[in-house]
Structures are given as C-alpha cells and as structure tokens.
C-alpha cells in the first residue's frame, strides 16, 4: 500500500481527508502535519510515496514547500485547496493532480486510482512552485526559526546536515545546498559550501590555486579551484 501524509493547517480539514482516505482503503496515512515546516521534516524522514498538500498555509505555503524538496527524491504530490483560481489554472495547464475542498469522494477515488497505476502527474513542478524563497525554515534548540536568506552568510553541509551561518548563530536547515543555491542568492564556492555575495569582504588567494573567502562577520569559507573562476567572473576580477 502507498504511504501517504497529509499537510494542512486546519484540523478539521486534515481529519476529513484522513477519514476519506481511510475509507478508500487505497493508501496508508502515516502522518498528518499542521504546517509546511513540520511537513518538510516528515517528508525528509519518512519518505512517503504521496503527499496530500494544502496550498494556503501560514508563513510557508504548499508551493514554497515543494520548492524546498529535492526533485530527485520528490514524492508524488496531490494539491488540496479550497479556492485558489490562479493555482487551479496552473494545475489544469500542467495536468497536476488536485482536489478541491470540500473533497468529493468520487474525485478522490479517481485520483487514488491514478496513483495506484503509477499514472500520476510528472514530478517537475517548476510551473507552480516558488522560485525565490523568502523564508528558510531552520530548527534550533526546541524551536523553529524562519530565516530570511539575506541574513545567511555561509551555508555548509556535513554528515549532520545543512548548516546556515549568520555570523551570530548557526542553524540547521532541512534543505539541501542544491535547493539553497537554486532558490536563493547564495553562490557555490566549494562542493560543501555556499556563500552570500552581499556579505563578502575579502577573497584571499592561496598558493595552490584555491582561495579563501572572509565574510563581513569574519567567517571563513574555502573556495575550491573549480569554483574560483566563477566567483572571480561574478565580481569582475581577472
């Protein structure tokens, strides 16, 4: 059976959809999330096959959430909305699956049937997703922080995850470096590092052909030979 999760900010909406899915006996609902940040974490940890995703949610919308997911491991998405003329037009145009609230069980069954037949919409959501992230969800000690990308000086990844360095603090994000590179102003300077060009203070060229960047707050990040040329080009250096 397909593993599904429901992401919706309204309790009754989640319950209603859950009931309908349980009745259908076609999928197993393994989790319900009340916001996109929780949803992002759950998707990354539980790897569901399908996500029933509400679009209008506080702070981070369903469309923002998809843009934070890695296309490689993207689950199947079924959009759920009460009313969103613009989004519905886009879904129709791109043949994405969507459900309108209150959800009609006939319509739901059709969608579930397509899911079973592995016939559901393509995983390229670029037509509807957010191209520029305005807030990056991060987790700190027992709290969720929504960080504006321009506050990030350096983003780096290691075995424990992706870390965002603001100069004041270090936060852990649930996004990959690749997504951050695509959806924010950050630029790549190393396989494991991104740097925010507006925070750049100094590029120190090293003997071996690589370099080191020092940011406004004095943070250091390595620049590999591979990315040095791009960075030089970007700042008009020869």
């Amino acid at each position: 059976m397909l593993k599904a999760i429901i992401i919706d900010d309204e309790l009754y909406a989640r319950e209603e959809l859950n009931e309908l899915l349980v009745e259908s006996n076609a999928v197993e609902v393994i989790a319900q999330c009340s916001n996109a940040i929780e949803g992002l974490k759950v998707i990354n940890s539980l790897k569901p096959d399908v996500v029933f995703l509400d679009i209008q949610m506080p702070q981070i919308t369903g469309l923002d959430l998809i843009s934070m997911l890695d296309p490689e491991s993207m689950p199947k998405i079924v959009f759920v909305t009460a009313y969103d003329e613009y989004a519905v037009t886009a879904f129709e145009d791109n043949a994405f699956d969507y459900l309108l609230k209150p959800v009609e069980s006939d319509r739901l069954h059709k969608t579930l049937k397509r899911l079973k037949n592995n016939n559901i919409s393509p995983s390229n959501y670029s037509a509807v997703v957010t191209h520029h992230l305005e807030l990056i969800p991060c987790s700190g000690f027992n709290r969720i922080i929504l960080l504006e990308p321009n506050k990030i000086e350096i983003a780096m990844s290691d075995q424990t995850g992706v870390h965002l360095l603001t100069g004041d603090e270090t936060l852990t994000a649930s996004l990959s470096l690749k997504i951050l590179e695509e959806k924010t102003e950050l630029i790549r300077c190393h396989r494991q590092y991104l740097v925010n060009p507006i925070c750049l203070r100094e590029i120190k060229l090293l003997d071996n052909g690589s370099a080191e960047i020092i940011t406004r707050s004095g943070l250091k990040t390595p620049v590999s030979r591979r990315y040095l040329k791009k960075i030089k080009d970007r700042f008009g250096l020869i």
Partner: protein, 564 residues
C-alpha cells in the same frame, strides 16, 4: 468786487461743461489713479482743453486776461502726475502766449508751474500711500489757491513794466484766487461724485453676484431638477429684484417664480419662441418690449413686458437649459440685472456640472459599498463548507450550528440597502463570522470581545467592524504558526470636552508593518465613510509593531443626544 462776480459767472459755464462731460465715458478714467500711458494721454487732452477753455472764458482787463486757466493745469497735475501737469500747463500756457499782451511770457511760465505744482502734490500723495486725498475738494482748493499766489508772484517778477504788472495784480489777484480755488474744488467734487456712483454700482454688482453664488452653492448636488431649480430661482428672484425668474431644461419649465406664476406653470412644455431660439443657438436673447415687441406666449393678459433669456451651457458648449429673467410692463430692465444675468447663467451652469459630478461620486461610493458587501471571500466560503463537512461526521449538532451561523452571516451580507446599523447589530454579524472562524481554526485562534454596553445602541455605517475583523484574521492571525489572538475593544474616550467613541481590533501578528502598510478597498471604504460623516479627524487609523500586533482603530464623535 465786480470782477469777482463776473469771473464766477464764467466759472459757472465752465463747470456746467465739466458736469456734462462727467456723464460721458470720457470721465471714467478720471475716477481712478492709473499710471497707464493711455490714461495719461486722456488726462492730457481733457485738461489741456479745460485750460484753453479757461483762457477763452477769461475777461480782458488792462491788456491782460483774468481767467480760470489754472483749474485745468492744477487738476491735470493732481490727477495725472508731474509729467501730465507740466504738459497741460505748457499747452495752456503756449495758447495764452499766442494771444499776446504784456503778461504773455509770465502767464506761460506760471501756468506751466501751476500744472507742475499739482503734479508734485500727486507724487507726494502717491509716495505716502494716500491716493484717496487726491480726490478731496479741499485739497484741490488749497493747492489751487497756493498756485494762484505763485502765479501772481511770477507776473510781478517777469512782466514789464513792473508798475503796470503791480496794478494788474492788485486788480485780478483776489478774483482769480477765489474763482480758481472754488472752481477747482467744485470740479473735483464732480469727479468725486462720479467716482462714488461708479464704485457703488460696482459694489452692488459684485455683492449681488457673490451673494447669489454663496446662496446657491451645493443646491444642485441632488441633480438639475425641479426641486433644486425652484430653490435657485427663488434665490435669484430675491437677490436681483426682477419681476420674475424662470429656469427651464431643454423641453420644459422647471421653476417659475414671480409675476405671472399663475399661468407659467412648472412642468409645462416651453412655448416661448425666444427660449426655443436661445436653446437652439446657444446665444443670449434680450427682448426689451420696446424695440422688439414682447408678448407672453401663454396668456395675452400677462403683465410681463420684457425678458432676458440666457442659455445654460455644458462644459462642451451644449445647451442644457435656460435661465430667464423677466420684468413687468411698467418696469425697465436695469443694465445691472442684464449684466448680472449672464454671470448668473455661467455660475448656475457650473453649479449644475459640479452637482452632477458630486452626485456621480456618491453613486460610485454606493456602488463600491454594494460591491464590498457582495464580495464574500470564496476562500472563506469553501473552507467553511469543508469544516462543516468534517464536523458533520463527528458532531452533527455542531455542524447544524455552523450552518446557522453561515446563513446568518450571508443574510446580513445581503442586507445592502441599510446604511446605518447599531453596534449591537453589527456585533451579531461579527459573531456569526467569528463562530465559523473559531471552528475552522480550532485551537489556533482565540477571540476576546470587550465592548462597553453603553455603545451597543449607537449607530455606525453597516460593515464597519466586520471588515476590520475579517482583515485581522485573514492577513493577521491565520498567517501565524503560533496561536492567533484577536481582541475587539470598544470604549468612550473623553478628550477636551469631547466624547469620542473608539473601536479597536487588535491581532498579534503585526503583519501590517511588514507587508508595506497597504490597506484594501474594504478598509478604505470604512475610513472614507466615517470621514465623510464626521470629519477628517475621525475614521480609521492603523498602528503596528512587527511580530507583536496590528491595531486597527476607528473613532467617531459621540453625537448630541447620545450623552452619558
């Protein structure tokens, strides 16, 4: 003494001529002081003529002429300035010179000097900012007396032989000083009278025009119809004092007040050929009943004897109606009212256009409000239906309640024709909306309403509170990850002897600061309606602190009869 009387006789003829001239338009420039060259030229010609006239009216005496030439020269200088005075004196003097006699040179010199003295006094008053003094007959008297004394001295110094000059001065000094002084004073008094009449007419004219303008302001804000026209026609009738006033549109009489109102009935179709002609051509038509016969087209025994028909024009020149002023048969149409009539027509045309503009603006406002009422947020509707759908499963009783609230909410939305509701009624509307949102957001929203009971019977424009609350939830609390808190407060604020009613809607999101402080159409209308009704110091004010709160405050005065 005999000479004094003779000279005064001549002076009378001289002044009669001046008086007759004062009835002509030539005199108009004399009633005001002006530096314009064209006016100076008129002064020069006029007073030079009087100067020469004074010489001709003189009496030959001992090979010299006792005369009233000085009046023209001094007056010319006084009214026209030193330059005019000098040339008037010179012209009069040269004319005298060619008549010969042993005082010819002395007279030329003295007349020029007299003109110049008048001019110097003119300059003095001008510098002191006392132009009004120039028109005083006493000033004219004194300066002429002084000038004449100077003239006598010049004759004594210049004319030869001295003995003869001395004898002459003894004979003519007194008559000439008296005649010229008196003449100048009377002449100036004629000018002063003319000036007074002229100014009085002018003041009456502008007063009437201003009063009509002032009294008719806003009368057409309800449109160009029979009611507004009757009010305006009445005002014009009272202010101008003409026999009758009528206002028509292109087809029929909208208002008629005054003589003949018994058969010139409102609402009847225009029958007067003159009116139809004025509407057709867009030109003013005047029928004086003398040159052109006037006969009322409705009733042969009508007492009206003359009429002025003035078309009322649209901005693009199209005729939208006429305004007609009548006088009865035994009365003449005053020039004043004829001129005023044209001004009134222009004024009324503008008033009608402004009225129409205001009316359209009001209509637009109403349309905006209706649109707002009808505008139910579809997102709200479908989410509510979804909530009800979910609740039905577990708690049919609660689902039924929610449906009741939703019906109540829509019912109040559809009550579009009510302008004012009590705060209590508005709260019922708000309550049903809140019940639905509370069910929808369940654990994520709390609401606290705290309104002074004394406010409940007060009236506010419909849809004043509801948009504020909807806004606070839609753009405020619903965007929060944490719990949304909504507070609605209502109280009376005493401020400098004024009691102000304050209603506040506060959310704990503070998004107004971060979202560029933009206000939607709904809130703009809330603000506009309160300002229209109570004045600029009232209405809607929004304050905020990022991540803490957004506070929408509306205020309006506690009106008389609502004292607590």
């Amino acid at each position: 003494m005999e000479l004094v009387l003779l000279l005064l006789q001549q002076l009378s003829v001289y002044l009669v001529i001046a008086y007759l001239l004062s009835k002509t338009p030539i005199f108009i420039p004399l009633t005001s002081i002006s530096g314009r060259n064209s006016h100076r030229f008129v002064y020069y010609i006029l007073f030079s003529s009087f100067c020469i006239l004074g010489t001709y009216f003189g009496l030959s005496i001992e090979n010299a002429i006792a005369n009233t030439r000085a009046i023209g020269a001094v007056m010319g200088g006084l009214l026209g300035g030193p330059l005019v005075g000098f040339f008037v004196g010179l012209t009069g003097g040269l004319h005298r010179y060619f008549m010969g006699g042993f005082t010819d040179v002395a007279c030329t010199l003295s007349t020029t000097t007299e003109g110049f003295i008048g001019g110097l006094l003119h300059l003095y008053f001008l510098r002191k900012g006392k132009i009004g003094h120039i028109f005083k007959p006493s000033v004219a008297l004194l300066v002429t007396l002084f000038s004449e004394v100077i003239q006598m001295l010049i004759i004594l110094i210049v004319a030869k032989p001295f003995e003869q000059a001395w004898a002459l001065v003894q004979a003519i000094a007194l008559p000439m000083v008296i005649a010229n002084g008196l003449g100048a004073a009377l002449f100036m008094s004629i000018i002063q009278d003319k000036k007074a009449i002229f100014e009085k007419n002018y003041t009456t004219f502008s007063n009437k025009a201003l009063r009509i303008a002032q009294r008719t302001v806003g009368e057409f804000s309800q449109g160009f119809n029979s009611d507004s026209c009757k009010k305006v026609a009445d005002i014009i009738y009272q202010e101008t004092g003409v026999g009758a006033v009528s206002i028509t549109d292109r087809d029929k009489i909208l208002a008629f007040i005054g003589v003949g109102a018994d058969h010139h009935l409102c609402g009847t179709v225009i029958s007067s050929g003159y009116t139809l002609k004025a509407i057709e051509s867009g030109e003013i038509i005047y029928v004086d009943g003398y040159e052109t016969d006037y006969q009322c087209s409705i009733n042969t025994s009508c007492r009206l004897g003359s009429v002025l028909v003035i078309p009322l024009l649209e901005a693009d020149g199209r005729v939208l109606g006429t305004i007609k002023l009548y006088e009865p048969k035994q009365k003449f149409f005053s020039t004043l009212n004829r001129n005023l009539g044209e001004g009134i027509a222009k004024l009324i045309s503008n008033q009608i256009l402004t009225g129409r503009y205001i009316q359209q603006k009001n209509l637009l406002n109403q349309a905006e409000i209706r649109l707002l009422h009808a505008q139910v947020n579809p997102h709200f509707l479908f989410n509510t239906l979804n909530t009800i759908s979910a609740v039905t499963r577990k708690n049919p009783q609660k689902a039924r309640e929610l449906i009741q609230h939703l019906s109540q909410f829509f019912r109040s939305n559809l009550k579009q024709n009510i302008e004012q509701v009590t705060i209590k009624e508005e709260l019922v509307h708000v309550q049903s909306y809140l019940e639905i949102e509370l069910a929808r957001f369940e654990e994520r929203l709390s609401v606290e309403i705290n309104i002074d009971d004394r406010l409940l019977p007060l009236e506010i424009p419909t849809f004043t509170l509801q948009p504020l609350i909807e806004n606070a939830i839609k753009h405020g609390t619903s965007t929060l990850m944490r719990k949304g808190e909504l507070k609605v407060n209502g109280y009376i604020l005493k401020k400098d002897n004024n009691a102000v009613v304050v209603l506040e809607v506060i959310d704990n999101a503070g998004n107004y600061c971060t979202k560029g402080k933009k206000v939607g159409l709904g809130l703009q209308i809330v603000d506009k309606r309160l300002k229209n009704k109570h004045g600029q110091q009232y209405g809607l004010v929004i304050s905020c602190k990022t991540d803490e709160f957004t506070k929408a405050t509306i205020s309006f005065p506690l009106l008389n009869g609502q004292e607590f």
